[in-house]
């Protein structure tokens, strides 16, 4: 079957919009790793928790996920901050495999709590504008995808401004660049780490609130999201903000093109193929620093 260039362009636009939400999700993972060198295996689980919070706030109070995004990000920030302060901080200087086991344990606990509280069935939100589309000439883009992508762009920009313009952001970057130096100049590194973990969790919380507008949630989705976030940050470069954004867009667009031109069943095959290619050609990722 032959398709026109416009059909392909439309698929690319959809892929870009989806990729923006992917980027926001992956930003949280890369921020935490970039500063603390802790690999958050509970990332997808945190995203699923945020999606459930969005479902609950919509069902109980009728709050649109775009608005619920702020309190949900705040809740996830508090959760991340507390988790780092009480638990993860004790594992900062231990061998990596112990960190992995710790984060996997947190992941298993989170997904099972979701299972107990929400059950195994898919749940979502039914927004009034869920089936509306924007029409630009012949180009049709569904509203929720545009809103989710715009939300992701705004949050990514705020995150960039935080790290580049604020004293706390600069202090976190300093601690990430030189841990001993940061201690010498009197920075409270443990507090900075807790803020970093909180910010990473808040990012994934915001991504969860936006994603629930596009897909339904069930507990077992968490593993898929963790895997997706890892794929994106490995392609982009673990620890790189630019890499997470580029990786998210690349995966979003490549999935859309592969699904459109080849076979929708091959979407994930294409993502993982891209991952293997990057690992072979540029193991540090597109924007990562070589070890």
């Amino acid at each position: 079957m032959e398709f026109s260039a416009f059909d392909l362009f439309q698929a690319v636009v959809k892929g870009l919009l989806t990729g923006m939400v992917y980027s926001l999700m992956a930003l949280g993972l890369t921020v935490i790793f970039g500063v603390m060198r802790v690999v958050n295996f509970a990332h997808g689980e945190m995203m699923v928790v945020a999606m459930y919070l969005a479902v609950m706030s919509f069902a109980a109070l009728g709050i649109d996920p775009m608005l619920a995004l702020i309190p949900i990000a705040a809740i996830l920030f508090a959760f991340g901050y507390g988790l780092q302060r009480t638990l993860i901080n004790r594992f900062i200087n231990v061998p990596e495999h112990m960190q992995f086991i710790l984060m996997l344990s947190v992941a298993i606990i989170l997904v099972n709590v979701c299972l107990v509280l929400a059950g195994p069935d898919a749940q979502g939100v039914q927004l009034d504008y869920a089936l509306d589309s924007f029409e630009i000439g012949e180009l049709l883009i569904d509203k929720v995808r545009v809103y989710a992508a715009l939300g992701a762009v705004v949050i990514s920009a705020l995150l960039y401004l935080f790290f580049s313009r604020t004293r706390t952001g600069k202090a976190i970057r300093a601690a990430a660049d030189n841990h001993a130096g940061a201690l010498v100049v009197g920075l409270d590194v443990n507090r900075l780490y807790a803020i970093t973990f909180g910010i990473g969790a808040a990012c994934v919380g915001a991504a969860g609130a936006l994603t629930i507008m596009l897909v339904q949630v069930q507990p077992f989705l968490a593993v898929e999201y963790t895997l997706l976030a890892f794929t994106i940050v490995i392609i982009g470069g673990l620890g790189s903000l630019r890499g997470a954004i580029a990786g998210g867009l690349l995966i979003g667009v490549s999935e859309a093109i592969a699904g459109f031109l080849l076979e929708p069943s091959l979407k994930s095959v294409f993502s993982f193929g891209l991952l293997i290619l990057v690992l072979l050609i540029r193991p540090q990722g597109l924007f990562g620093k070589a070890a």
Partner: protein
């Protein structure tokens, strides 16, 4: 040793050993012997395996409703058979279906039924055959399940080729009845066991059935897909005039949602014998957009004497739910088991399979001839109907002699007032 044991008020070491040995012996007996012991006036223990959670949860729960009212309906029909349901959730997962089947047999199930899905049903069929326990499939269309030479497996549901042959014939009837015929179609199908069987069946049967349109593309996707935007964009790009979904429930909803968002307006959405578009969740989620979709599937026979009895019990127990084919076929699976038990008066697997082979139930709830099984354990007498969504209800529109309304084709546009 305590005084109690010596005086006979407690249990002696020898008695303990005897009791333990007897218990262990009973437990280690083959299931077949235990089932033989468990016969008589005891209720027939029916192991019901359904996907009540996971991606097929809505469909599994619909099937479960058919099982839940089965005993009451059989009592109303004076069947004189007691039923005890042993329910198990397959979690929409083939491996869990297999282990749950083992678990039910170990719990004393005399007969198994389920499991809505072809992959899960194939796994259960293997277990049933290995453990020599009769298995009556309620819903599963992959033809290979009854092509393995199994002795204990019986299917009261059409195979994919049967479904397709009936469904495509009904499509022709639909075009003839409305005077409108599409020239092109796109087949959008899940890529699981059922979807693959349907795709292969359509490819094989399509040339023989001389359909009036060309299939311009086949788009297959994961039934667990969370987003079908690319798939629908691809279908829209083909400009196909007819969309033929081989779907499940969640993806059928996603499919229509994306068609609305992308303003893809084909002449119709007519499935070639698949679930998804007549379930209650489809109507609830999509509202006016659920209207006018057509499912060419086996359906409840309103002219059967048994159907009103089933409908009455269903309405009493599930006043807010929809009586549809998942309920009907699951009820019929239990009816078949109960009928065999009634005739043989034994839950012994050998007796049960002999009785099942001799099944001939003239009056039952689904459209088609008497329920009877061929040498492969397949009921070949089931027929399909064209069921169109009209006023948020599945309504039989073809064949004309059992239609409750006239078919609407082409379907009105997404924004049309006639959608309500």
């Amino acid at each position: 040793m305590s005084k109690e044991s010596k005086s006979g008020r407690g249990i002696s070491r020898r008695q303990f050993a005897q009791v333990t040995a007897a218990g262990a012996g009973l437990l280690s007996m083959p299931a077949i012997v235990r089932h033989a012991i468990a016969q008589g006036n005891a209720p027939l223990k029916v192991g019901v395996l359904l996907p009540r959670s996971g991606v097929q949860a809505g469909l599994g729960q619909a099937c479960q409703r058919g099982a839940d009212i089965a005993e009451a309906v059989l009592n109303d029909l004076n069947y004189g058979v007691k039923i005890e349901l042993l329910n198990a959730d397959t979690e929409s997962n083939v491996d869990i279906a297999r282990t749950q089947a083992e678990k039910l047999i170990n719990s004393g199930a005399n007969v198994l039924t389920g499991a809505f899905d072809s992959g899960q049903s194939a796994a259960i069929a293997q277990v049933a055959e290995q453990r020599s326990i009769p298995y009556v499939i309620n819903i599963a269309a992959a033809p290979q399940i009854t092509e393995q030479g199994y002795k204990y497996v019986f299917r009261n549901f059409p195979t994919a080729p049967m479904l397709i042959t009936d469904a495509l014939a009904l499509q022709k009837d639909l075009f003839a009845a409305t005077g409108k015929t599409p020239k092109t179609a796109v087949l959008m199908s899940v890529n699981d066991t059922f979807g693959t069987a349907m795709q292969n069946g359509i490819k094989a049967l399509f040339p023989k059935l001389q359909m009036p349109y060309e299939i311009v593309d086949v788009i297959s996707y994961d039934p667990r897909a969370k987003d079908l935007s690319v798939e629908v964009a691809k279908a829209k790009a083909t400009k196909a005039e007819l969309v033929m979904p081989v779907s499940r429930l969640n993806d059928a909803i996603l499919l229509v949602q994306e068609m609305v968002k992308q303003r893809y307006e084909p002449m119709g959405i007519v499935n070639p014998g698949a679930p998804g578009m007549y379930e209650q969740q489809f109507y609830k989620t999509l509202g006016k957009y659920s209207e006018f979709c057509v499912s060419n599937v086996p359906w409840l026979n309103p002219r059967s004497k048994m159907t009103p009895v089933l409908a009455k019990r269903f309405k009493e127990k599930f006043p807010n739910d929809l009586l549809e084919l998942n309920v009907g076929f699951t009820f019929e699976a239990i009816l078949i088991a109960a009928d065999a038990y009634k005739r043989t008066k034994s839950a012994h697997p050998f007796a049960m399979i002999e009785a099942l082979r001799a099944t001939k139930i003239e009056d039952h709830v689904m459209v088609g001839g008497p329920i009877a099984f061929n040498s492969k354990g397949q009921n070949v007498n089931i027929k399909s109907a064209a069921v169109q969504n009209l006023k948020r209800q599945p309504v039989v529109v073809l064949p004309a002699d059992s239609a409750a309304a006239k078919p609407v084709f082409p379907m009105p546009k997404w924004g049309a007032k006639s959608r309500g």
